[in-house]
């Protein structure tokens, strides 16, 4: 049949159409019969069942909240766990006279003014029909006393709730983070992620740190009971139920003892420390000082505490390792040196004769070394050891800004490290293109010169600096830093190790790495800028000190640490890895307004390394506070002076308006 070539046969077509219409009509009949059968099943066969459900006043679906997963350190020491507490909760819509009721309750159970404040704050944030805690952590006697009088308080309930608790309190608070009550924004996010039904019955959600970034792992799956309720809303009978699945437990790579030693070493000083195991990227310590007690947030923080934390000049709530940005200062020099060596520049026996300053061709402006009169004959190894500015001015100029930044970017400068805690900011690695975009100004040669010693626009986070040090220690093999090393399945109890992720393998010449390492090792030996840090260590330390200026100092003005306000003193920076030949730990320390890196930040690093490598506990001596006075002169290069404002540049950032060569203060 060549039907496809034929013109339409209208008679045939109509016949076919009617046939097909009849087929569909038949299908309609079948479909409606299926419906009728379903009606028969529901409305006649199972009528009694549904009738009972509807008549006995209906069904309620009660969510069963899963237990949140635990967080413990690498040795199994628990950093976040749950426990049951009695709470006294009020549903405002069910209470006629709220004030009178609370006054009556106060006669039975102690309600402090701060409890009242917290309750009032939560009232304004929640709906009327939600129950809000008036008192938490009731003891047995208080609970019993209220239970006896319960009939007098409609709308007030004694509940046993699972609370999150951080047994170490302030320790590692920025890393572990905290959970707090779910707010409208959280609900919106959950709704968009299609997770809202899993949070029916959950009051809390991770708000910061690991608690936030591993929320999906920690939360677990909500179970439910389909219960029949009577007219008073009491459950009469469970019709069906599904048990909740607890959240997974997390095991961190952090050693809580190491964390404690590091935090103690900071004492009252502000700053940050990040220690990383270079071969795997595991974070060993994550310190942000000062810190805060995350337990305050779990029940809903009260007004006074919140004000205290939020308005403190020390900014304890800011996660310094991830969100504090600082100029790297001289800690940048090893990376500049390697950039030069890899570009085939400055190989020994090349050396300069440093007379204390550097000038650009056709310019009379002097970029001064921190040491008036200069260091004399300096090769690349010694340049790192004594932190010779002049040497790196010249190197940076010859490399050019693009070659320099292109090289160090591989070490993670100017980008997020990708660590598994949310909120990281990328810092800044300036390029001429960036400057043109940001300021509509060309790049000046002078800015290249000072970039070589970590001054100018460059800004790093402590996390970044630690990561760059770890990559250097690991000979260019960049592992992505991570805090969680294993996730234990709540159902099976089987631990799943998180995968070490290789970010990049930077091709580097072993000979160049050796040169930089030797220069850094000499830093902690007599004659180096941090000789005291390496004294009697028993293992070799490759390190670099750094200082970052907080307040701009005008040309020809003297810097006098004693005379200026403590908060305007320089930031002290210190990077190190050890043992230098086979590094097991790499770290970065920043002490805000600490003065000189070697004397302020170095000893903290030493204590951390001593414990990690030797198991040695620090001596019980009070921490050294402040930095030594200094009288060095610093000058301002003849470059443009744009001001820079980065988002979240809340702390730590110096005033980059003044691009000043660093000034190192020696013992």
């Amino acid at each position: 049949m060549k039907s496809s070539r034929e013109l339409k046969n209208y008679h045939n077509e109509k016949h076919n159409f009617k046939l097909r219409l009849a087929v569909l009509g038949f299908l309609v009949l079948i479909a409606f019969s299926v419906l009728a059968a379903r009606f028969y099943f529901l409305q006649i066969k199972r009528y009694d069942y549904y009738q009972t459900l509807a008549e006995n006043n209906r069904i309620s679906i009660v969510p069963i909240t899963p237990n949140r997963g635990l967080i413990s350190d690498r040795n199994g020491i628990v950093l976040a766990h749950n426990f049951f507490v009695y709470t006294l909760e009020i549903t405002p819509s069910k209470v006629d006279d709220l004030d009178a009721t609370i006054t009556e309750i106060t006669k039975l159970v102690e309600v402090s003014p701060s409890d009242r404040k917290r309750f009032n704050k939560q009232m304004t944030e929640s709906h009327d029909f939600e129950s809000i805690a008036l008192r938490t952590h009731l003891n047995e006697i208080e609970a019993a006393r209220f239970a006896v009088n319960r009939y007098r308080f409609p709308g007030v309930e004694l509940k046993s709730r699972l609370f999150r608790h951080y047994p170490f309190g302030k320790m590692g608070a920025h890393m572990v983070g905290y959970i707090a009550r779910i707010n409208d924004k959280d609900i919106k996010n959950l709704d968009e992620a299609d997770l809202l039904s899993n949070y029916k019955g959950s009051d809390h959600i991770g708000k910061s740190g690991i608690e936030q970034s591993y929320e999906t792992q920690l939360h677990g799956t909500t179970g439910f009971q389909q219960v029949e309720i009577d007219a008073d809303g009491r459950a009469v009978r469970v019709l069906s139920s599904q048990a909740p699945t607890s959240g997974n437990n997390l095991i961190l790579s952090v050693d809580s003892k190491l964390q404690e030693i590091a935090e103690t070493a900071f004492g009252e000083r502000r700053g940050a420390l990040v220690a990383i195991k270079p071969s795997t990227g595991e974070v060993l310590a994550f310190v942000s000082m000062p810190t805060f007690d995350p337990n305050l947030f779990v029940d809903g923080i009260d007004y006074d505490n919140w004000n205290l934390l939020n308005n403190s000049l020390d900014k304890p709530l800011i996660n310094r390792p991830l969100r504090g940005i600082y100029p790297p200062g001289s800690t940048f020099k090893p990376f500049s040196a390697l950039a030069g060596l890899e570009a085939g520049l400055r190989h020994p026996p090349f050396s300069i004769s440093d007379s204390g300053y550097f000038t650009l061709p056709n310019s009379s402006h002097r970029y001064r070394d921190w040491k008036p009169g200069g260091h004399g004959n300096v090769d690349i190894r010694r340049a790192i050891t004594i932190s010779c500015d002049t040497f790196f001015y010249g190197l940076a100029m010859e490399l050019g800004i693009t070659r320099l930044t292109d090289f160090v970017r591989h070490f993670g400068f100017g980008q997020k490290s990708g660590v598994d805690i949310a909120g990281e900011i990328p810092g800044l690695l300036p390029t001429p293109e960036w400057k043109m975009r940001r300021y509509k100004q060309p790049w000046y040669m002078g800015e290249t010169v000072i970039a070589g010693i970590g001054q100018g626009y460059t800004l790093v986070t402590p996390m970044q600096l630690a990561q760059a040090t770890a990559v250097l220690a690991n000979k260019g093999v960049a592992m992505r830093p991570r805090v969680v090393s294993a996730i234990t399945d709540a159902k099976t109890g089987a631990p799943h190790l998180t995968q070490a992720v290789l970010n990049e393998k930077i091709p580097l010449d072993e000979k160049n790495l050796d040169l930089v390492r030797l220069g850094m090792v000499d830093v902690t030996l007599p004659g180096g800028t941090a000789a005291s840090v390496g004294a009697n260590a028993g293992y070799s330390i490759a390190a670099k000190t750094g200082t970052a200026q907080v307040v701009g100092i005008k040309q020809n003005e003297k810097y006098n640490a004693n005379a200026i306000d403590e908060r305007h003193r320089d930031h002290a920076l210190f990077i190190a890895y050890a043992p230098a030949e086979a590094p097991k730990i790499a770290l970065a320390v920043i002490v805000e307004n600490g003065g000189h890196g070697g004397s302020a930040a170095g000893p903290i690093a030493r204590k951390v390394m001593d414990y990690y490598l030797l198991g040695k506990l620090p001596d019980l001596e009070p921490p050294v506070v402040g930095a030594k006075p200094s009288t060095s002169i610093v000058t301002n290069p003849n470059t443009s002076k744009p001001t820079i404002s980065l988002p979240n540049a809340a702390i730590g950032a110096t005033n980059p308006a003044i691009n000043t060569p660093e000034d190192e203060h020696y013992d």
């Binding site: 219409l21 006649i44 069942y49």
Partner: protein
């Protein structure tokens, strides 16, 4: 004189369809009064919807089918263009991008596609000089899939599926070969396990919940559980108008729109349900007769598709409420509250009436 005027005015209204329609709408108003918690405002608003819809129906019934045929292509093209507009600049509401905001008014182009799609495909097959070939069906398939894809992406799976159905009915009635139909069904059946294995866990979970909502009683399953209780407790005769406990005590969600059938079934019981199904069957039967008697390829394909799409709406809604079909957002025709669906439905029934009453004037080919 008066009666002559009356006759002229209703010349293009099919009295049988009209009677069934009005009766269904009346039932709908009573159910809505009960479901809305005795809200006169709701009922009045729905009465206005019905008034507008009937006016639209009357106008369309008076338009000759040839005119409809001539606007098929522009309507389709405008519809697709608007859908692209939605994808690019549409307003997001409840996580879906369905509305196009013109400042004065917001429109939902997917609704327009419900009519434009069968019109376009019917036009396409009417224009073929020869019996449709495989390539024709391929082109028609493309014409169908472009707007459906855009709607599915919004995402509005319910509408996408129903528009697919309306297009498929045209293809089937135009003579899509049985071999292809059976082959297609078999190959899709064979592909399913493979596709299932390709999905992520969470995607599987979503599909499982779509098919069996009781697995997620805190989310999608809540509707189904409460709706089946409402229906089942209605029994044979129902609890009586305004006496449905499930409905009156706020246990039923969306009970004036997608789940209004649960209210109806609880209050009027199995007898009411069967009567409603019979009422729908009468509308469908009349539509099929109109399709069978239609004189041109265009009108018969269009009439057939419109009728069967109407059936699909009714069946999917009742099936979803009674728990045998997944919960997709489809209103119950002529009963659920809402202006858009009322107007769209009446428009399609206006087309049926136009096809039936202009028959003698159509130069049959």
């Amino acid at each position: 004189m008066i009666s002559e005027l009356f006759q002229r005015f209703f010349r293009h209204i099919d009295s049988f369809l009209m009677a069934c329609l009005l009766f269904t709408m009346l039932v709908g108003l009573f159910v809505l009064y009960s479901a809305s918690g005795h809200s006169i405002e709701r009922v009045s608003a729905q009465l206005i919807n019905i008034g507008v819809a009937l006016l639209v129906m009357w106008i369309v019934a008076n338009i000759q089918p040839q005119k409809l045929e001539s606007v098929a292509v522009p309507a389709y093209l405008v519809g697709v263009l608007l859908l692209v507009g939605v994808a690019l600049f549409g307003d997001v509401s409840h996580g879906a991008r369905r509305w196009l905001n013109f400042g004065i008014t917001k429109i939902q182009p997917s609704e327009m596609m419900r009519i434009a799609m069968p019109m376009m495909l019917a036009w396409f097959f009417a224009k073929r000089e020869t019996s449709p070939r495989v390539s024709d069906f391929a082109i028609a398939g493309m014409l169908l899939l472009i707007p459906v894809g855009l709607i599915a992406k919004q995402p509005d799976l319910g509408t996408a599926l129903l528009i697919t159905a309306s297009g498929f009915y045209v293809l089937f009635l135009a003579g899509l070969s049985w071999k292809f139909l059976i082959g297609g069904a078999v190959s899709i059946g064979a592909m399913l396990p493979f596709m299932w294995s390709m999905l992520h866990d969470y995607q599987r979970r979503r599909i499982e919940i779509l098919i069996d909502p009781t697995q997620d009683p805190l989310g999608a399953g809540y509707h189904t559980i409460q709706a089946t209780i409402a229906l089942g407790s209605g029994g044979v005769t129902g609890k009586g108008w305004l006496n449905g406990t499930q409905a009156q005590l706020d246990f039923l969600p969306e009970r004036t729109t997608d789940f209004i059938f649960a209210v109806f079934g609880e209050e009027f019981g199995m007898i009411g349900n069967i009567l409603l199904v019979v009422l729908f069957s009468l509308l469908i039967a009349r539509g099929l007769v109109i399709a069978a008697q239609a004189k041109s390829t265009f009108t018969r394909l269009l009439a057939g598709s419109i009728t069967l799409t109407f059936f699909t709406y009714a069946f999917v809604n009742m099936g979803m409420v009674s728990g045998i079909l997944p919960v997709v957002g489809v209103p119950l025709p002529f009963i659920s509250y809402g202006g858009t669906s009322m107007v769209t439905l009446c428009l399609s029934f206006g087309i049926l009436m136009s096809i039936q009453t202009h028959k003698k004037l159509v130069a049959s080919g």
